[in-house]
């Protein structure tokens, strides 16, 4: 956190001065470790074993926050007797289909709920029976899985029923002992015990523990399950929805939260509404019926979606044409960025827009990225400088090796300079869901324009060219509401007008809350979770009441979705009766006199719903949730310790080894890696399967304070470039001795994909780990560099292969295997020969 979010870290320093204990669990010793009370190095890729052991520690001691757990989680829910755990099936859950490498979730349901949650009826689990739930976990990003799970499962509040979630959890995690942690993670039992005791002691009525993570948890073939394990732990300890608790994702880009809320992601529409999948006949009602829960706030999905369709297609969207639902293109599976790149290599994807992104350096398997770029018909790059993804035809490493040559690359490249943040109006959504407006200060220089300008004027040009077309496929383009007012020297579309469309309008003008949205076409809203960001027609995101002039929650600075709530699920900060769990942790509570929820934050609950409210049997949407159900996006209002629907790789987290690992999975010797991970077995994506000693070391990629991701915004700046002027690797003194690496000298790192070179920093901050009788060496590789800019070096991401988390299709960038050798890498075709020789020795065939 200190490393990549230094200004956010001020609050950790502040907390530490007030007595907080800071524990840093990370393979490398970073700037965060330097200020932590305890740094715990662990083997990259082993976090589920570590977190699962914390869960087991809590469960075996029954140290959970029982009142919270019984009332607010699904611990008491009884599961169907069809569910079989990985512990009983040698590493797979019930429902596994080895032919497709995917799960059917029907056996994961609550008892007696199967008719209500038939996963086969879900939109993308269509008649073809393709099992991967592409991006399903993301579709829950607004706060809950949109799928259908029973609102009212049978419960055993004594938590003793053998098939209640609590007991199932207990059995599932029973083997996650401190001894397993030592064998898998390399953390000794004494240190583990200290952490476990600290976390438990610091949770309960009076205290809360927070977890903070970044892509160190997401970039794995089991990434979503890492976060799930932390969720289980935090729910058991009562640390969700309460001040000082939670699981904080520290995201790395100014509006990366915004770019999932208003997604440029293949599987989502704004506000985490799923993109529809291909069917022979599916209308809006069928789509909503298949995808929305009937209970909880997703019960209003139809209103959210109709309002979106109205904001896109305006008057053309009418009841008699299903609100233009048919204008939406349909998915047929994985259309993520990595499959797109393979489509480029294979020739099916011919055009590419790169808007502020540099995949030639920043995405996994750089060579494949560049081969894809080189096989396009046309490419548009919008950036501040000529990044590697724009100049690949001049200086890609593959030109040096002879795999590509400038004269034979047919890609037509347009480089369009971009406006910077001070040259345009707009909002960023930060990592806490806070929308903050930034005002335009100056005009952009030369041909530089905002991306808002680019998309607006591109759309205008396209619509002009299509004007008069009678082809039905052009209807969605011609029907589009695309008439924003323009301003300034360059006819910039008004960002304020776009935000107003996102916020939405009703018959009486600007909307103030998503609860106003209707499915009858009377409301328009471009992103339902952002509804209210211009409440009363005022740009709430531009509010800048000084922090020191308001409460510590600072509700009048910017605007947080949803409804300006700063802590989600904050109903859980009060006990079931609505009273604060303790004075010290008072946050939101039920005022019995006023008969309303009140407190320091906007209550994340219906403001007047009495804690004693119990829903009638036929209730829908929020009415189906009781006054003690804080998790209002969930169909049952509970925090899910066990996930009956919504995840592609199982209802519970299980430790699997990374796709490339130096260790046989001690839990399931016959299930090395996540059995349903997204794989791309093809000759240009060779993966080192477990075994042999050709790639004996673990490497992990990461960032440094001084640079920003793929470097486009930092390697080009003199003041930043000089601070970390070139690519380096970090190795322990022991590994340096083992491999003859010299501090300050050069090393070559080899994987089945390629080899790169880096200067060597030998440092005690990287420590070999002892896993029982094995020693594991880890190599640290910052990934900021490429060939362009002021600070240069080989790109660490070139080393990675492409295997993905099956829920979110994110690559495993944090743990893979390699060899390291002293000296610089070979140049030209000899580089290919070196890599090939390694592959041959490892027995990696042409089929990957």
């Amino acid at each position: 956190m200190a490393e990549c979010h230094p200004v956010g870290f001020q609050w950790v320093v502040e907390a530490k001065k007030r007595g907080a204990t800071v524990i840093h669990v990370d393979p490398r010793f970073t700037r965060t470790s330097a200020l932590a009370d305890l740094h715990v190095p662990l083997r990259a890729g082993s976090d589920i074993a570590f977190l699962g052991a914390l869960v087991n520690h809590v469960l075996t001691r029954e140290a959970d926050f029982r009142e919270y757990v019984v009332a607010y989680t699904n611990a008491a829910a009884i599961l169907s007797d069809e569910f079989v755990d990985t512990e009983d099936l040698a590493g797979v859950f019930s429902g596994y289909d080895p032919d497709t490498g995917s799960y059917s979730a029907t056996s994961w349901q609550y008892e007696g709920a199967s008719e209500a949650s038939a996963a086969g009826s879900r939109d993308q689990w269509d008649e073809a029976g393709v099992g991967h739930e592409a991006g399903r976990a993301e579709a829950a990003g607004s706060g809950g899985a949109a799928g259908a799970a029973s609102a009212r499962p049978e419960r055993d509040e004594t938590l003793t029923h053998p098939r209640c979630v609590y007991q199932v959890l207990k059995r599932h995690f029973a083997r996650y002992t401190p001894e397993l942690v030592e064998r898998v993670c390399g953390i000794d039992p004494r240190t583990f015990a200290r952490i476990a005791e600290a976390v438990v002691a610091n949770s309960g009525r009076d205290r809360t523990t927070a977890f903070v993570y970044s892509v160190g948890w997401t970039q794995h073939t089991v990434g979503a399950q890492y976060i799930r394990t932390a969720s289980i732990l935090q729910l058991l300890l009562g640390n969700i929805g309460r001040p000082g608790g939670g699981i904080m994702a520290l995201r790395g880009h100014a509006s990366i939260q915004g770019s999932t809320d208003i997604p440029t992601l293949f599987n989502l529409l704004p506000g985490y509404i799923p993109m529809p999948h291909a069917h022979q006949h599916e209308d809006l009602d069928a789509f909503v019926a298949a995808d929305a829960g009937r209970t909880g706030y997703w019960g209003h999905m139809r209103a959210y979606l109709v309002s979106l369709l109205k904001s896109w297609w305006g008057d053309a969207a009418r009841e008699d044409n299903d609100w233009c639902f048919g204008h939406l293109p349909r998915l047929t599976g994985d259309h993520g960025t990595y499959s797109t790149v393979m489509g480029q290599v294979d020739g099916s994807v011919k055009g590419y827009f790169l808007v502020g992104e540099n995949p030639a350096v920043g995405s996994a398997h750089g060579k494949l990225q560049r081969l894809g770029l080189a096989n396009l018909d046309w490419l548009v790059v919008r950036d501040f400088s000529l990044i590697e993804s724009a100049t690949f035809w001049q200086n890609a490493p593959e030109i040096e090796t002879g795999e590509l040559s400038t004269e034979t690359i047919g890609t037509e490249v347009f480089f369009l300079p971009a406006a910077s943040h001070v040259e345009k109006d707009g909002t960023f959504t930060n990592t806490q869901r806070l929308l903050q407006w930034h005002h335009k200060a100056i005009e952009p220089p030369g041909d530089a324009r905002s991306d808002l300008w680019f998309f607006y004027h591109l759309g205008r040009a396209i619509r002009r060219k299509l004007a008069g077309s009678t082809d039905p496929r052009d209807r969605p383009v011609l029907d589009l509401v695309w008439d924003y007012p323009t301003e300034g020297r360059y006819d910039d579309p008004s960002a304020e007008a776009v935000l107003a469309e996102i916020n939405g309008f009703g018959p009486d003008g600007p909307l103030s809350s998503y609860t106003q949205l209707r499915d009858d076409g009377s409301t328009r809203c471009g992103c339902w979770i952002y509804c209210g960001c211009r409440a009363d027609g005022v740009n709430q995101t531009a509010r800048r009441k000084p922090g020191h002039e308001q409460s510590w929650v600072a509700p009048e600075w910017g605007w947080a979705w949803p409804a300006n709530r700063r802590i989600l699920y904050n109903r859980a900060s009060a006990d079931p009766d609505g009273n604060p769990w303790s004075e010290r942790k008072r946050y939101v509570w039920w005022d019995a006199d006023e008969r309303r929820w009140t407190g320091a934050d906007v209550p994340d609950f219906e403001p007047t719903k009495d804690p004693a409210y119990r829903p009638p049997p036929d209730a829908t949407a929020e009415d189906a949730l009781a006054g003690v159900d804080p998790f209002i996006m969930q169909t049952d209002g509970k925090g899910w310790l066990f996930v009956p629907t919504g995840l592609a790789d199982g209802p519970l987290p299980t430790h699997y080894e990374p796709a490339e690992s130096v260790l046989r999975n001690p839990l399931y010797p016959t299930r090395q890696s996540n059995p349903v991970r997204q794989r791309y077995p093809r000759p240009d994506n060779p993966i080192h399967q477990f075994g042999g000693d050709v790639y004996p070391y673990v490497f992990t990629t990461y960032r440094l304070t001084e640079h920003h991701t793929a470097g486009g915004m930092s390697r080009t700046l003199p003041y930043l470039a000089e601070l970390q002027p070139e690519m380096f690797c970090e190795v322990s003194p022991a590994l340096a001795a083992e491999r003859g690496l010299t501090h300050g000298g050069w090393a070559t790192v080899v994987t089945p994909r390629t080899a790169i070179e880096a200067r060597v920093l030998v440092t005690a901050r990287i420590r070999p780990l002892r896993l029982g009788d094995t020693t594991v060496h880890q190599i640290g590789l910052p990934y900021h560099w490429g060939s362009n800019g002021i600070a240069t070096g080989d790109a660490a991401n070139d080393l990675l292969g492409i295997e993905l988390d099956p829920n979110v299709y994110i690559q495993e960038a944090k743990a893979a295997t390699c060899d390291i050798r002293p000296g610089r890498r070979p140049r030209g075709p000899e580089l290919l020969a070196l890599v090939r020789a390694y592959r041959r020795r490892a027995g990696i065939g042409e089929d990957g």
Binding site: L265, E357, F414, F415, P417, H421, G547
Partner: protein
């Protein structure tokens, strides 16, 4: 410098007998002002690097950014910035920033200049041509697709929400579904 301003005289006449303080001040020193004081405008902004969302104040003079620093009013950042945020003026004013359109024709070996309007028109043509060539009405089972897989988008995550909104809206209307961003990575 006038005779009376000569440091030695000031030194002899004043309390600073060693000429190490008040008497040593040059006229430039006396005229120093912080450039933030003379800015034409102070504009409220947000740091474009990570997702902490630190407040920035952008100082503008004669249409140019002269300083960017932390906004002390922000309850998120309290006026502080990391090295990247502190360097963000250089992101804007860096002389190496490319500010004109560059064009590389197929099989070309050099960048060429291209007018922005022409570039936009050419890009629109490319989109429509590719869309036409690669359009899919249905799949082989007769399922409705209404889409093209012929072109794709990969965005950074430093785009504004409004920008992403227009991008998603336009691409979806065009039937392009391979629209992705850094959040997938």
């Amino acid at each position: 410098m006038t005779f009376l301003g000569w440091p030695v005289l000031r030194q002899l006449a004043g309390a600073d007998r060693l000429g190490r303080g008040a008497a040593a001040r040059s006229r430039r020193t006396d005229g120093l002002t912080a450039r933030t004081e003379t800015a034409d405008a102070v504009v409220r902004s947000v740091c474009p690097y990570c997702a902490v969302g630190c407040g920035q104040r952008v100082y503008v003079k004669d249409g140019a950014v002269t300083q960017i620093e932390g906004d002390p009013d922000s309850p998120v950042s309290r006026g502080r910035l990391c090295p990247k945020g502190s360097a963000s003026k250089q992101l804007v004013t860096n002389p190496d920033r490319v500010t004109t359109v560059r064009y590389r024709r197929p099989y070309g070996t050099e960048w060429e200049e291209l007018d922005l309007d022409t570039a936009m028109d050419m890009i629109a043509d490319r989109v429509l041509a590719t869309r036409r060539e690669t359009w899919q009405d249905t799949d082989s089972d007769g399922r409705v697709l209404n889409r093209t897989l012929g072109f794709a988008h990969l965005g950074g995550a430093t785009l504004d929400n409004e920008e992403n909104y227009l991008a998603k809206k336009l691409y979806t209307a065009l039937g392009a579904i391979q629209v992705e961003n850094q959040a997938r990575i």
